[in-house]
Symmetry: C2
Subunit: 190 residues, 2 copies
């Protein structure tokens, strides 16, 4: 009765845990409530006892990543220099992507997640501010391509199944180094 709503082992947490894994394997649209229920060994109705709809599960599963993103945005926006802001964003982005590799797999490009962001003001706001910070200042086409390559490259690398054996530390180090190397090349941003 006094159990934490978010604590590990609660029915709610088990649903989110299972959903996250299945979303990563089959995408959100390709995952049914039945699959989630089956994977934790309960009936569909039990899943609906915890969440009133599939969308609610998606939202709850993705929330931690948006929280991380909001934290980074808050920190970065407190800094005046655009270039420093950009650096904070990139390194923060790599950090929370690596910290939550499985969740990143879902967020990285699932159309359902994109729709969710579009339909919710708070998420659109945070994502927009994050993107603006990433761009640093007004860059030309080359700079925008590089930023896209870095962010999407990071997103995809942390979720790459063939890199599951690579440690979080190794991933973090290599990705940050590569990102900084690209950002340090002035020809992209002149």
């Amino acid at each position: 009765m006094a159990k934490s709503v978010l604590g590990r082992g609660t029915a709610r947490a088990r649903v989110l845990e299972a959903a996250l894994t299945l979303f990563g394997e089959h995408g959100v649209s390709g995952t049914t409530l039945q699959m989630i229920a089956d994977s934790i060994g309960v009936g569909k109705a039990s899943v609906y006892y915890q969440f009133h709809s599939k969308d609610e599960i998606v939202a709850a599963a993705a929330q931690p990543m948006f929280d991380d993103m909001a934290r980074v945005v808050t920190i970065a926006e407190a800094v005046p220099d655009p270039h420093t802001r950009q650096e904070i964003c990139i390194s923060g982005f790599i950090e929370f992507s690596v910290r939550n590799r499985r969740l990143a797999a879902v967020l990285a490009g699932d159309p359902v997640l994109e729709s969710m962001v579009e339909s919710r003001e708070d998420l659109t706001d945070i994502v927009e501010r994050f993107k603006n910070l990433l761009l640093g200042g007004g860059h030309g086409p080359a700079g925008r391509v590089i930023i896209s390559m870095i962010t999407n490259g990071v997103y995809s690398a942390v979720t790459d199944k063939e890199l599951e054996d690579v440690s979080d530390e190794q991933l973090h180090t290599t990705l940050l180094e590569a990102a900084q190397q690209l950002l340090r090349t002035p020809s992209y941003f002149e």
Copy 2:
């Protein structure tokens, strides 16, 4: 009667055209036969007259990209030096990704496409050979991370909606330059 089966404007081509757009917007699982039929203004049965199943549409829509990949693999495997092979692969990959930006959006990480590759020997074969060529020789963790970042970064950049206004030429140039810059850094591959 003598019309080309693959020519532009045939019913078959219109289905593939519509499917590709919808797959890009909603993912494969998120796209229904009804949506495809509606978007070209016909009934579902008419779509089924051209393709016997949804999987067949997916396969036909994705085929051109695998053909391109097979071409690059054939060319690269004819070269003895692993590093040259790698260069050919990267530049070939960037070229056909840019050439078919909309299709790349579908192939880039849709779980249905991944399942299709796994279930078809010919596709698994070509993708495996491509990946091996990309790796060049046996690289360590850092090198594998960089390769993943490049390939996924390219894939995602060509499909980035915010880069739709960037020309194919600009995209190609910038992506190739960035990829080569990362590949030329020995510390990743020692």
